[in-house]
Symmetry: C3
């Protein structure tokens, strides 16, 4: 018998209550051999957009077939659908599975990976028994469904098939704007999509857009030079790099770019790419 | 050979020091095949009452036979006893085991589950060697004892049997008060027993008391209507629900009831149940 | 086949981003059977000294052969070496392995344990593919190298052997000072090397120095009596103990010595040991 797939957990539950531990207990009730890895549980409460970014940054670093259970779920108990889906280029061996509420949480992964199949979680045989609560579907639906999926239950057994095109999108409020900057080259305008624990500011501008040497970032009236490593800047100085997740990122060598620049999520950022 | 039981850990150690990791290392020294699940390590320092609530909310969601090691231990090194016990209705197959200091931590679980047998941890053969410190019994006594219990050592080998009735209780400072509210029906007065990461306020009033439709919560001079889901209230509005742990809970749809009402642990809360 | 070794993780990544989860994913890609235990991820950003202390306090409580991957890495992408080493007294069965940047992080463990062999991580066959980023060697080099080491790849396969004497030391800014205090006995002057989650203040003075009964701690103009347990002091009172990690520690029974004394890392502390 093949070992079960790995489950990752991503929530906004924090770590001060036993909610995450309880989800792991329910998984172990279904199959104690499943290995669970925490992505993070410190998504700001109900911030679907930050959860989307975290999942998109992380999924590629797990073994093929990993089941990602993500629960940032402001609509719990209401009319939003509970879903599971498989993604990747090989229908016979999915790159991974996604389990959670249909609220846009998975739209980041699905922007780069095709959905193979999707279901609405309607088969209560795979839920925690007796009846699910109306306030904690992480425990009562998503954790047990994830555990069954990790144990080899086929996706299509979990509920009714739905179209991948029917999934709720997450509106990107700031699409990239690309324009000529005259002699300077090209100007790409994006925004801040995440800020990490170190205060590194991660933009919506892909690193693939800035392969020309000499690119720089403009924030307000500051021009920030680019480099390959944080240490290419002097200690305490600003630097723009293509970060480990592939996005243009602003950092301070040994400090916090967030604190230095006063940037917040959604703030506008420009990149100048020379001719 | 059957696989080892699962161990859960619940402490007030926080996550900034390696104390919790060290407990897991000691467990792995005894038996690297034991699976450990964290309940939480962010109980406020020395708050036995919050630890009691967290354990009571969580134990039922783990496989039968799980060993719950809980260390919130203001009396470490003093005269309080170190104990382990089995609970449930089947002496041959306990629902679970509890390991930790005898300070009332387990009184929540034992209010709903009968103790099968209890021992004082007097057999140092199952402790970390050489001698336990006087300040970290989590590492030196409770973790290794939990690991041996999870590995199949019988409870009675761990020390001298004691009576379940001899365990230290935790005084409930606010027992429920139930009285007539005239034409309105019945008034139940309890208090706040926990506030979670989302700011949801969890009372001492059981959901079983409020099965009549139309029940509501009174806090000060505010009446809060009840519903089945957070989303039954308008965005930013207060709502009372029976929470996922079975207690009457006050929430704000998309916000924090704690912040909205300014409630603290122990504050009085009333429920009105119509005739 | 023998089961893989355990890996511990120690970083300054925090838990709000998925960085730690991603390292675990990369480990599982190499070998899903490896068990990972978190020491802590809440080392203050880039504080190599606190990471050194945490690792030194924890390593002894893990099974022989455990692989400790530690990533507090202000020089990532620059010229600092990436290293791995084996330590202990038995070259055929190392007590443990250390993997991380060569910046002094391991100097605490190596102050008490001899290095058996050390390598610079130059063999990219054991790195995450395709090319490592210049900003996240935890994911791209240290996690996969740790996973291969835990799976039985010999240390010497990971890169070029280097001398243990060539490792970067971490300067101890406050060596102990021992002098006569006349009739009072001996005065040992050290400093604060760590403060834990409870506010316990851990000094650089080893407990082995204070075996004489009646020793006390002097902070400013306060004399703090010693005892064996926190509870030997009255509730809210200061007490000096030899802590669970073996160092002289100042605590408050049921409170925070940090808050009570206003001490910070590096502050001077004296111990008086009577004749």
């Amino acid at each position: 018998m093949r070992p079960p797939r790995i489950i990752t957990l991503l929530t906004d539950f924090g770590l001060s209550d036993p909610y995450v531990g309880v989800m792991k207990g329910v998984i172990a009730q279904v199959n104690p051999a499943v290995q669970v890895i925490d992505l993070t549980h410190q998504i700001p409460p109900q911030d679907v957009s930050q959860a989307r970014f975290a999942l998109m940054s992380a999924y590629a670093y797990f073994p093929a077939g990993t089941v990602h259970v993500a629960v940032v779920d402001p609509g719990v108990g209401g009319t939003r659908r509970a879903i599971a889906l498989a993604f990747g280029n090989n229908a016979a061996a999915p790159l991974g599975f996604l389990v959670g509420p249909d609220n846009g949480l998975f739209s980041g992964v699905l922007a780069v990976q095709p959905a193979i199949a999707a279901v609405e979680l309607t088969n209560s045989a795979y839920w925690h028994q007796p009846m699910p609560s109306q306030t904690f579907h992480g425990r009562d639906i998503f954790a047990p469904v994830g555990a069954h999926l990790a144990s080899g239950i086929p996706l299509t057994a979990l509920g009714q098939e739905i179209s991948g095109r029917s999934l709720v999108p997450l509106s990107q409020s700031h699409p990239l704007q690309i324009e000529s900057a005259g002699d300077q080259g090209q100007r790409i305008t994006g925004c801040v999509q995440a800020i990490d624990h170190f205060g590194n500011v991660i933009t919506t501008i892909s690193g693939e857009a800035v392969i020309a040497p000499g690119w720089s970032v403009i924030v307000g009236d500051r021009a920030i030079p680019s480099g390959f490593t944080y240490g290419a800047a002097g200690s305490g100085d600003l630097i723009a790099v293509v970060g480990s997740h592939g996005w243009v990122e602003i950092a301070v060598n040994g400090g916090s770019a967030r604190a230095c620049l006063g940037l917040s999520l959604g703030d506008s950022v420009q990149v100048i790419v020379p001719k």
